[in-house]
Every structure is written in structure tokens, then in C-alpha cells.
Symmetry: none
Subunit: 210 residues, 4 copies
DNA sequence: AATGAATGAGAATTCATTCAT
DNA sequence: AATGAATGAATTCTCATTCAT
């Protein structure tokens, strides 16, 4: 039994699982120490593995950081894709699900938010970070704008500008996430959700309640 | 003679001016290289001064960073204080001035935005950074809420919740700043201002135009 | 069936063949990357085998390097032994064959020359390397001196000092090899051979032509 | 006194002197440990300085090594230049001086020879090393060939081929240096000089004695 | 006998800080 | 007050070696 347990812990893990394990440790460490202070030693210790393991699986620290950002981006995006392509949902339901998702436990996990904003803070000096997210950001904006446009016609909202609403909602969500990260005692997830809903209610009063 | 020569040299600059010179260099360098990559050498080179100068004036790198954050915070805050305490402005005018200020050249200078978000990204791991801003953030929120409350009564906006509006506006501004920082080609300052105004117009339609 | 499959696999190769395969890869890699930069990974990759194989067959990197030097030394020596002990050759023919051999394709293979000089360069700090060659160097010198002494009496060359000629020829050959290694475009094998012959012609003009 | 000594040892040394100090330590360390085993720590310890000093003065280990090779090359070359351009010497005297120089204490210092051959051994894989020496090697060969050509006409040596003699002498000198490096007990400097002279005597018997 | 993921000691390099000038 | 060469702790990365499979 002991042997089996041992072999399970060190050898029989797939390369992909080991990479994920390291990415998880990286997320935790960035949240704890900050992007400018995390060391490889922090990460490997957190993962319970040896010093050299990161270079074995990711070649360099920089590549590990990039893969970590990509992991979080992909995770966020895939959640939204499922919602957008769900044939059972009406337009309004999709929007509601989108917002619910934006303020769900998975997304507003403070460790992940810390990673998000750590990377945003470095974006100006490291365009690579932006390029990782650029595509999905554009995609999500396009999907959301489309949903707003559909709801505009479905609900007869002549004054709504779907693009403006999308930009405004997106910025609002970003700002609320920042609030959730930096003032966890000030703003609760539920409140953040309510704030987002409050804005949507100003645009589509027949479909959403503040 | 020696004194004259002396005063003409670099030594003639006051300690305060030297500190500001270094803070300015720090802002530029954080924007260019990112908080996690700036070195003291970058900063002193940018300032055209010698290696050891930062330790002379700020004791340590960490203290220089803190003073830099404080400098930007104070600068932002003092601009808003002037607006809030301007006896010549009506409530609506103060709000307009506030928003105009939030998206003015001084504030949305990309170097300064980069510094802002660099620090936000480290906030979770370095509460000191947050503590520098906490007071002024609370103050500004309090002022803004008060303005919204006044306008609510002045304008007969029964449904407006001043606190909610303040939280929403603040988050929206944060999110728009992030957009201005990371996608400078996507969102222009003027548009960001319009988005903010669009939100205020939903709350106070008689006073603001989308 | 399993046995057949087995024998067809990599395991069917004898340990000795595996060792030679690794030594060949080592020669190639030292030539390509330099003794100070070759890694075990380079060598095993070049050999198309797995990481751990060297330690299995040679215990350590150092031992592989020593065996590689020994391989090249033995190869060189055995060629000369054949010539020296060839009963069909006259003294002069043996000397000619020796020189021809010294500048033949087998010996002046640039990969092998690179290995030779890589080891010579480390000799002062690693006397082991020297000790591997010391015996055969002494043997060859002894044989060559003997040949020169025989030719001196056979040809009536009163002024020739066989030992001096041997030292001079040996140094000359070393120097020409170095030239062939470092300036392959400057000195061609045929020219190097001519230079060596030119020297021998000064000592034994009746037997060798410049 | 102690203070003066201290300041002299650490601060008042010029950058150039510090670089030379490090190069000298590098020569000693390469000789002692071999090019493939020297570490920066060996070098800085040998120089009695701190870890970071090499990167301060040479940026990287590789550059230090290159500068070390260049130092030895320049040193050798400048000695020969002086001889070649000495107006007081006849052609034969210049050649004699050249050879005397080639086997003088300065040149056949075993530490420096070890460095020479350490680099030659890496030449195939690092063309940079060769490029550092290429120019001066060509220059020296050109000078020496010219001297041999002059002596040929001065002394009426119809059969001498100056270029061939130059190639042969140069290779011989290289080979003798290698001997001096690897078998210090076998070949003495004086003997090596004699061997070189022996060869020249075969070409210019009226001017040189074996 | 062979593999290759994992290890961890050791190397080069970086950089905040110090201090003689 | 200012300089900048020097320091040395800390960090990333390398790579020979091990060992479960």
C-alpha cells in the first residue's frame, strides 16, 4: 500500500497533470507573494516537488507564468462558451447566466483574481501577456454584444446601444473584480453581482431587476 | 567661490526636488519595465543620477515604491478635493467635474495608470500598498456618495440609491482605466468619458446626457 | 514470438556494441559542442538512446570521457603497430607508411582531432587523461626512434640524431594536426603530408622527397 | 597605515587594473582546473574579490574567457612585433630572436600554454575563439615568411621555399609547445629551442646551428 | 538491459545596498 | 549631498545521476 501510494505521488502522474499541479501552485504563490516576489523555490515547495521540476516541464519561469495566465484565461473563456452555446437558454437567460458566472465562486476566487490583476499590471511592459488574452477578450465582447443586440430587438429597447452596453458592462465587471480583490471586507460577491444587475436593469428594465 | 561653484552643481537641488525627480523616474520605469522588473539602476539611470542616490534619499527600494504610490494617490486625491470643495459649483457641476477629471489627461496618463495597476496587482500580498490608498478611497467614496445623495433630493430621483451608484461608478471608472491602459488602441479617452456619462445618465437623466 | 520481438528490439545489441555506439556519439558531440559544453543529454540524444544509458554502461560521465579518449588512443596506436610490425616493409617503407597513416583520412578526421585537442587542453588539470596516452606515446616514440636509427645506419646518415628527429617529427605532426583542426580552409591534408615529408627529406634526402 | 593599505587594495584600483587582475586569475584557474571546470567562484576567489565582480567588469563568464584569450594573444603578438620592427637587427637576428622568444619564459609559462590549448580544443565548436587569433596568426605568418624570403636571397638558398618553411616552423613550434605543456618532465624549454633551431639549420645551414 | 521523470547540488547571474572617496 | 565600485545574498537555470517502471 505504501509503495502504491508512493508511486502514485511521484512517478505515475502524467506530464499534463504535473503541469497543472505546477500551475495551481503558481496561482497560489502569486496570490500569496505577488508576481514581483514569487520565486521558483516558492512554487516548487508549494507543489511539494523538487527545484528542477519547473524547467523540466516549462523550460523557464517566464514560460510557466505565461502558461499560468493562459490556464486562467482558458478556464474563464470555456465557462462562458458553454453558456453562450447552450441551446436551452433564451437570450435573457444567457445574459443572466453570464453575469452569474462572472461573480460565481470559480471566477471570483481571490487567488485567481490576484493573478489576473498581477498580469494586467505588467501588461504595458510585457505585451505577450496581453496577446494571450486579446483573442478571447474580443470573442467574449463579440458574443456579449450579440446577446445585447438580440435582446434589444426581442424586447423592443430602441434606445439601447449594444456595443456601448457591452463596453460598459465589461468595464464594470473588471472594476468590481478589482474591488473584490482589494477590499474583500468592503464588497461581497453577492453585492458585486447586484451592482452588475443594477446596471443591466437600467438597460433592459423588463428583463432584469436591480 | 567654492560655495558658488557648489551651488551650481547638482548639490544645489533641494532634497525634496531630488525626491520628486526620483519618483518621476520611478513612474516612468515601472510603466516601461513593469513593477516586477524595475531595478534601482533603471531608475537612477532614468533620473540621470548615481547608483547610490535612492538609498540616500529613500533608504530602500521598498520605501521609494511606497512613496511613489503615495505621490500618485495624493496627486489624484488633491485634484478631487479641489472639485469637491469648490464653492462656485453646483452639485451636478461637481459630479461632472469629477468625471471630467477622472478621464482628463493628468489622470489617464498611461504611465501613471500602469503604476496604479502594478500596485493593485500586488495589493493582496502587500497590504501596505492598500493601506496607503485606503483612507483616500474611503474619503472619495464618501464625497461622491454625498454628491449623489444631494442630487437625488435636488432632482427628485426617488429610485436612486446613492451608495449603489457610487460603488457602480467607481468600479466602472476603475474598469475603464484598465481598458485605457491595456487596449489603448481600442478605447479612447473621450469614449471612456462617454461610457461613464452614459451610466450617470441612467441614474440622473435630467442632469446628464449619454 | 515475445523472444523474437525482444531480440529485434534495442536490447538485442551487445553491451560492447552499446558502449561503442555511445563513444562514437561522444566523439561527435565533443567536436560539435566542445568538451566544456557537452552534456550527457547531447550524447544520448545523438546516440538515439535514453538519458540514463550512459550511467548504466559507464557509471559516470567522467568514465565515458576517459573511455572515449582511450578508444581514440587505441585506434591510433593499433594502426601504427600494424605498420611497425609489418614484416613485408623495409625501414624506409615503414616510415613512409607511418607518415601516410598520420595524415590519412582515419586520423585527420576533424571530429577526432577535436577530441584529441580537447583532451590535451585539459591535461594539465587532469593528469588521468595524460596517463591514458603516456604509455602509447612512449611506445610510438620508441618505435619511431628505432626506425630512424635503422635508416641512419642503412643509409649512411652520419649527422642524423634519431632521437632528435623523432621529437621533431612528432612535434611537427602534432602542430600540423592542430592546423588541420583549426584552419581547415588554410591547410589541406595533402599539404600537411607534404610538410611532414619535407622535414624527413632534410634528414634522409636519399630516401624521401620533399 | 592599515586604512591606506585597505583603500589601496579595494577602492583605488582602476577599472583596467581590475580587469587585468581578473584575467590573471582566470589564466591561473584555467591552468589549474581546466577550461571545462573553472567556475566564476574559482576565479574571484583566486583574485581575492567578491562573486559579482566579474559580471561588473566583463558582463559574463564567456566574455571574460574571450578577453583572457585576447590578452594572451595580444601579449604574444606584441612581443613579436617588437622583434620584427627592430631596426637594429639583421634578418637572421630577427629570426633568431623570434625563436628565442617563442621558447622564452614569458611564452612557455605553462599556465599560459594550458590556456592556449584549452582554447584550441574548443575552437571547432566556438569559432569566436579562432576569430580572435585569426588576424594575428595571419600577420605573424606573413612576417615570418617575409623574413625567410629575405634570408633566402641574402644567403643564396635557392632550394628554400619560404612559405613552406614558415608553415613547417609554425607547426613545429605549436607541437613543441604542446610537448612542453603535457610532458614537462620529458621536454625542457632549452631542448625545445634546440629542436626548433635544428629545423632552421636544415633550411639555412650558413646562418643557424643545430 | 533500458527508459525517462524526478532530483538536488552547483553554476552563472542579478541587483539592492554599502561605503570610501 | 553625491558618487559608483564593490559586495554577497538571493535567484534562475543546468545537468549528472538516480530509480521506479
Amino acid at each position: 500500500m505504501a509503495a502504491a501510494k508512493h508511486s502514485a505521488s511521484k512517478r505515475s502522474v502524467s506530464a499534463q497533470a504535473r503541469r497543472k499541479q505546477l500551475i495551481m501552485a503558481t496561482i497560489k504563490c502569486i496570490a500569496q507573494k505577488g508576481l514581483s516576489a514569487v520565486t521558483m523555490a516558492d512554487i516548487t515547495t508549494e507543489a511539494g516537488l523538487s527545484q528542477g521540476i519547473v524547467n523540466l516541464h516549462f523550460q523557464s519561469k517566464e514560460k510557466l507564468l505565461i502558461e499560468t495566465l493562459r490556464y486562467i484565461s482558458d478556464e474563464y473563456r470555456s465557462g462562458l462558451d458553454n453558456i453562450f452555446h447552450d441551446p436551452k437558454k433564451t437570450t435573457a437567460e444567457k445574459i443572466t447566466a453570464h453575469i452569474r458566472y462572472d461573480f460565481s465562486r470559480t471566477i471570483i476566487d481571490r487567488n485567481k483574481l490576484a493573478v489576473w490583476f498581477a498580469f494586467w499590471g505588467e501588461t504595458k511592459s510585457r505585451p505577450t501577456y496581453l496577446s494571450i488574452c486579446a483573442d478571447y477578450i474580443a470573442d467574449i465582447a463579440s458574443n456579449l454584444t450579440q446577446l445585447f443586440a438580440q435582446l434589444k430587438t426581442e424586447g423592443n429597447y430602441a434606445n439601447v446601444d449594444p456595443e456601448l452596453t457591452c463596453v460598459c458592462y465589461t468595464a464594470l465587471a473588471d472594476g468590481l473584480w478589482l474591488d473584490l480583490l482589494v477590499t474583500p471586507k468592503g464588497l461581497k460577491p453577492k453585492q458585486a453581482y447586484n451592482v452588475a444587475m443594477h446596471y443591466l436593469a437600467t438597460q433592459f428594465p423588463d428583463h432584469f431587476q436591480a
